[in-house]
C-alpha cells in the first residue's frame, strides 16, 4: 500500500501480449516443420456439458499414448513408432514423422479431471471430461424495461 500504482489495464494486456508473442516464437507449432513431428494438432470445444479435446495422432498405437491432467492443463504424450517392414535404403519419400510427441492443452475451470475418458479411432484421440454444472456457461435473460 506504500506506493499507489494507477490501474492501467492496457499496459498489462500489452505486456501479456508481448510475453505470449515470444512464447509463441520459441515454441514449435503444428505448422512448423519441427512442430508437425513433436506437437500434434488439437481441437477443443464444449459439447453437451462436457469438455472435448481431439488430437490428430495417425499411426500411433493407443498403448504408446499417455494422458496426464493437472489443474488447468491436460498433457498428451507418447511415441509414434516406425513400422519394422521398412528396410534401410528402401525409402523413396519420407515426410511422416516418427518418435516422441508431447502436447499440453489448457482446460477450463470445473472440468472433472477424475472422470476423463479417452478413445482412439481412425488416428484421432478423443478425450472427454464432464464439466461441473456451476461452471457451465449460463444464459441470463435480462428484461429491458421501456422508459
Amino acid at each position: 500500500m506504500a506506493t499507489l500504482v494507477s490501474w492501467s489495464p492496457m499496459r498489462d494486456r500489452w505486456i501479456w501480449n508481448i510475453d505470449q508473442f515470444f512464447r509463441d516464437l520459441m515454441e514449435p507449432t503444428e505448422f512448423s516443420e519441427e512442430g508437425y513431428c513433436t506437437v500434434p494438432a488439437v481441437e477443443s470445444f464444449r459439447h453437451n456439458g462436457s469438455f472435448v479435446v481431439r488430437v490428430d495422432l495417425p499411426g500411433v498405437s493407443p498403448k504408446d499414448v499417455h494422458l496426464t491432467a493437472d489443474a488447468g492443463s491436460l498433457t498428451i504424450e507418447g511415441e509414434r513408432k516406425r513400422s519394422r517392414e521398412i528396410e534401410e535404403g528402401s525409402l523413396l519419400r519420407e515426410e511422416l514423422c516418427y518418435g516422441p510427441f508431447r502436447r499440453s492443452v489448457e482446460i477450463p475451470n470445473g472440468v472433472k479431471t477424475d472422470q476423463i475418458k479417452a478413445r482412439y479411432h481412425d488416428g484421432v484421440l478423443e478425450i472427454t471430461a464432464p464439466v461441473g454444472e456451476e461452471h457451465l456457461p449460463k444464459r441470463i435473460e435480462v428484461e429491458i424495461q421501456k422508459s
Binding site: 481441437e43 490428430d56 481412425d122
Partner: protein, 158 residues
Amino acid sequence: MDGLTKWRPSRELIPWKPFATGWDPDFEEWIEDFLEPAGTETLGFRRWTPRVESYHKNGSYVIKADLPGVNPKDIHVMVEGDHLILRGERKMNRETKRRDFSRREVFYGAFQRSVPIPRGLKAEAIKAKYHDGVLEITAPIEKTHLPKEVKVDVEKSA
C-alpha cells in the same frame, strides 16, 4: 519425374491474378503464403495436402499417407499418367460443426496429393487399406523395373 509442378491451390481459387505473367513464381508463392498461411482456413474452402512416405518392399511399391479422422469411403485413389493421386475430404461431424471452440488446429475439408510413381508399377493391381488414420497403398512392380544391385569390381590402383 519430369514436369512435376508444385500444386498451388490458391491459383485455382483466385481469379484475379496480377502476378500471373512476368513474375517469379516463387515470389508469387511467397506472397500467397504470406497472405494465406497454411492451415488458417479450416472451413473447407482451401484444400490441404496430406503427408506421405513411400518405399520399396519385397518387389512392391508402398505409399503411406497420414489421413487422421477421414472416413475411408471419402478417400479416392487413382493413377493419372505417372502419378498416383490421392483425393478426398475430411468431413466434420455434428459436434465439430458447433462453434464453441476453444482451440482449433485440425484441418477439415478437401485434400489432394499427387505422388510420382516408379516405372513398371502395375496400376491394375493397386491395393489400399486404411488403419489408425493412415492410408497404405501397395502395388507390385514388374521385375524388370525393380532396383538391381550391380556388382562392380573396384581395382586398386598400383
